[in-house]
């Protein structure tokens, strides 16, 4: 016998906003962080030490997108890197990161959310058929 409650329950993927520390770290690594510093230390009027820092902090995906240099010996020809180079966007409904072009022009492959552009295209296609 099938459970009635199971039938009436449809699972709709929903985006949950993570506002805690993990959400913050996620966002920073996704956007990338630049830390630049010029520090000089002089003793008795003589410049003793100078430090110049040009640092960029980002997730692998963001680093690859913005052409940051990777440590020598990193193989950038793997499937993972090619995947990282595809421009992605978070689905506004379920929050999954999917191919931006697919999400914008067709629908989210995970939850089926459609953008205004995709809906417009559908309407236009219907009118064209008739």
């Amino acid at each position: 016998m099938r459970d009635k409650t199971m039938e009436s329950t449809t699972f709709r993927p929903e985006r949950t906003e993570d506002t805690g520390l993990s959400g913050a770290i996620d966002k920073i690594l996704d956007k990338g962080l630049v830390i630049n510093a010029d520090i000089t230390i002089d003793v008795a009027g003589v410049e003793l030490l100078g430090i110049k820092i040009r640092a960029a902090l980002a997730s692998f995906e963001t680093a690859a997108k913005y052409g940051l240099e990777f440590p020598s010996g990193t193989n950038l020809e793997t499937a993972g890197w090619r995947e990282a180079m595809i421009e992605k966007e978070e689905c506004p409904q379920c929050g999954k990161r999917v191919d931006r072009e697919e999400l914008l022009n067709f629908a989210c492959p995970w939850c089926g959310w459609e953008s205004a552009k995709a809906k417009k295209r559908k309407v236009r296609a219907k009118v064209g058929v008739q």
Binding site: A24, K27, I35, I41, K120
Partner: protein, 109 residues
Amino acid sequence: MVILRPEETGLKELLDRILDKGVAVDASVRVNLVGVDLLGINARTILSSFKTAAKIGLDFPEGTNLNTPAWQDLITKQPCPVCGMESRPKDLKEEGCPWCGWNYRPDER
């Protein structure tokens, strides 16, 4: 279904705003003893997101390829005022937001 930009509060939103605006710390410390300069420290530090850094022309580490398409998008793309998703300003103005359908001039259509 219109998806509105989620109002974020808390740490994530705070850091997001701080890095979008950029933080500049310029400190100079002088220590002198009996009128004689003993120690001086000058520290000029800037902290910002990639987007802000690209906009204000910060130096990136050596070897960074600044010609990838992502850099171009970073400077030109604008967020939609309703849903917050980014798109090209030309599309946003002429066709409306491709994500949520928000329209710049709804009366003229």
